[in-house]
């Protein structure tokens, strides 16, 4: 069978507190072992000297758009974008057309992923049928078909009763419930964050409280129901605080943050003169919120970095700000942004970042991987900390070009992506 030996790289495996120069041997889709001067013995050798060898990165929040919106993205293009961005696995949000609320749709996604996918695809099922917030979806079937979590992402679960039932029922199948936390009554009609910038731009804002209220609610409901709740794209200081307090008292709550909320504020909407690439939900927040989210990453309140990769067509975005679709693409920029803007200035250590992209997400959704321990899946991300990249949306593998980071010059980038022991992407092809 295929054997691959990665020679002389700096192995960073935070789950096992490893950070050392070593060789990694892969065989039959699994990690065989990590150690000094491993013999090749017929294995194909890849010179990894000067590169960082990490457990494969996992993005728990991706919109692959297939089925239904193949004009925005497909499983093929989305997973190619993931590979190019250094991700070896993505979790696919269920807000497709139709919504992934039955085993049949989950199976269809997995079949397509097997045929055309470049990285692993873990489907997420809907919390409620059609994500309408009225009746629970069939979690038993969804789990059996391969769903790793449930979520009505993009559509907040408005009813506390429904959320409670979901958290309770999901326990039977050990499914985490991922919530897009937003009180719709407070955010109705909003296109950005409420505050001074929105006021001066004359745009309708959603207050930070619209998110934090629901995060608080979900933490309390998870406590009540004993279920696992995962807070998607957490973006406000009060949300971080709610998760932190929940964790402190033992509630099974986890959270993710996106690179755009870590690096940009609502000021970007003004600075870009209403560029619709700065429009997403939750919106870019205040500087105080941005700093609090970063602090949450540093102190472990936030478990992982996820992109909320949300590709749209040019037509969806090339309209008035009020009319533009919400969302940004993230798969092909996340790693470089985090390396250049978080690790280089010392806001996160390299080991912290690698953990937030591998062991963290694996733990949150109980996924295989996230480690280079013997017997783990041979999913690896290799980084070149010195490679300089200029973000050029025209060259994205994703169909989506909607990024606020176009033109940014960044240092540090993925170099090689390995899934199941096979190289699926290599820099500078």
């Amino acid at each position: 069978m295929t054997r691959l030996l990665l020679k002389g790289g700096r192995v960073v495996d935070p789950g096992r507190a490893v950070d050392e120069v070593a060789d990694v041997l892969l065989a039959d889709g699994l990690v065989v072992k990590t150690g000094a001067r491993l013999p090749a013995r017929g294995a194909e050798v890849i010179d990894a000297s000067g590169l960082v060898v990490c457990p494969g990165f996992i993005d728990v929040h991706v919109h692959l758009r297939e089925p239904g919106r193949e004009d925005k993205e497909t499983i093929a293009t989305g997973t190619r974008a993931a590979a190019a961005g250094g991700f070896t696995a993505v979790c696919a949000m269920p807000n497709t057309e139709p919504v992934n609320d039955t085993a049949g749709i989950t199976q269809a996604i997995l079949e397509r992923a097997r045929a055309e996918g470049v990285v692993r695809v873990y489907p997420i099922g809907a919390i409620t049928r059609g994500s309408r917030g009225e009746e629970l979806a069939e979690y038993g079937d969804l789990r059996e078909a391969g769903c790793v979590a449930v979520s009505d992402d993009g559509r907040p679960v408005a009813s506390a009763r429904m959320m409670r039932r979901a958290l309770e029922y999901a326990r039977a199948f050990d499914l985490p419930v991922i919530d897009h936390c937003e009180e719709p009554a407070l955010s109705q009609g909003a296109v950005m964050n409420e505050g001074e910038v929105a006021t001066l731009l004359g745009l309708r804002g959603a207050p930070a409280a619209a998110e934090a209220i629901v995060v608080e609610r979900d933490v309390m409901l998870a406590e009540l129901a004993g279920g696992r709740v995962h807070v998607a794209h957490l973006s406000t200081a009060r949300s971080v605080d709610a998760v932190r307090r929940g964790k402190a008292r033992g509630v099974k709550v986890t959270a993710e943050a996106t690179p755009h909320h870590l690096l940009l504020t609502d000021q970007a909407v003004k600075d870009s003169d209403y560029d619709t690439a700065t429009k997403m939900n939750p919106p870019l927040r205040s500087e105080e919120d941005r700093r609090a989210v970063l602090e949450g990453l540093r102190d472990g309140t936030i478990d992982c970095i996820a992109t909320d990769h949300a590709p749209h067509t040019v037509d969806d975005k090339k309209v008035e700000f009020d009319q533009a679709a919400f969302g940004v693409v993230g798969l092909e920029t996340a790693v470089s942004l985090c390396l250049d803007r978080l690790v280089r200035p010392g806001l996160l250590t390299l080991a912290q970042l690698v953990g937030l992209l591998s062991a963290g997400p694996a733990r949150v959704l109980s996924l295989p991987g996230g480690t280079l321990a013997s017997g783990a899946p041979a999913d690896l991300t290799l980084l070149d900390l010195d490679r300089r990249v200029k973000v050029d949306p025209a060259r994205f593998e994703s169909k989506g070009r909607n990024t606020p980071f176009g033109g940014w010059t960044l240092r540090g980038a993925p170099a090689l992506t390995i899934v199941g022991g096979r190289v699926v992407w290599k820099a500078g092809r």
């Binding site: 001066l200 004359g202 745009l203 003169d273 037509d315 309209v319 008035e320 700000f321 009020d322």
Partner: protein, 278 residues
């Protein structure tokens, strides 16, 4: 100029201007059209209700198609904040903002400033109270910028529900109308945008009038020679009592007259002024 027997000069002869109005407008559109005619520009006005917008054409496509006919300027009024900026990014023609969403209405602020300066000889040091639905008002924002920059002391007044967060950055804020009016040189009343009042911002127009309406009695708190402004259209008996709107200190119609002059200036500077336009 408008008082001359022949109200026409050839300054913009041969220039084409398109007025693209996506929102209802009487004053602003008429004002721009008259300014264009006086300056001899060729102009046409398109309103959303009678255009291909009804057939689902996007703003950008509409603008690009109009541009293919080579106009020199597009004057746009749109309910989406930032729509003029969006067009400016994608079009060659000069774009003039005739009011965008709750963002800005620059020519309105210019005509208000002109009116105040004509009547008072200066803007520096004047206390100007802007009272009403500040939340939805582009007029309030543009005036706060302009009058503040020119040295006037602007006080914004509204119930807290109609006061957007962070507006303190632009001007002083109060929720008491008497405080806003105290010693004011000018009072600018904002239209209560009744069509947007679905959010339960206040209990009734009755209470609004009682607490925030400009009545003759309240006007007495301001200076004796106070000027009363309103960008129109007015809701008589809601934000402003008729006796005030039609009273001796009202300069509401002077505002409208000055609107033509200000728009002529904008058109001339952006289109005709040659070197001066730079």
């Amino acid at each position: 100029m408008l008082d001359r027997p022949i109200k026409k000069v050839p300054a913009l002869r041969g220039k084409t201007v398109v007025n693209l109005f996506y929102e209802a407008s009487t004053r602003t559109r008429a004002s721009f059209e008259i300014a264009q005619k006086v300056l001899s520009a060729d102009s046409l006005s398109i309103t959303a209700a009678t255009s291909s917008v009804q057939k689902g054409e996007t703003l950008l496509d509409t603008a690009r198609n109009l541009e293919a006919m080579n106009p020199d300027m597009i004057v746009i009024r749109h309910s989406a904040s930032g729509a003029p900026h969006f067009l400016a990014r994608h079009c060659r023609s000069a774009i003039v903002n005739a009011g965008d969403g709750a963002h800005e209405h620059p020519t309105q602020a210019l005509l208000d400033a002109l009116t105040l300066r004509q009547k008072r000889g200066r803007l520096q040091g004047l206390k100007v109270a802007i009272v009403g639905d500040v939340l939805h008002s582009r007029v309030a924002r543009s005036n706060a910028w302009l009058l503040g920059k020119m040295g006037a002391r602007v006080v914004l007044c509204a119930p807290p529900t109609l006061m957007p967060p962070g507006i303190e950055r632009l001007a002083a804020v109060t929720h008491r109308i008497d405080e806003a009016l105290e010693g004011a040189d000018a009072v600018m009343m904002l239209r209560l945008q009744l069509e947007r009042m679905t959010g339960g911002y206040f209990p009734s127009t009755r209470e609004y009038h009682l607490r925030y309406g400009l009545t003759e009695e309240r006007v007495r708190r301001a200076r004796k020679d106070v000027l009363i402004l309103h960008p129109g259209p007015m809701n008589r008996g809601v934000e402003i009592a008729s006796e005030v709107a039609d009273g001796p200190y009202s300069v509401i119609l002077d505002q409208v007259t000055n609107g033509v002059a200000v728009r002529m200036a904008v058109l001339y500077l952006l289109l005709g002024g040659g070197e001066a336009a730079a």
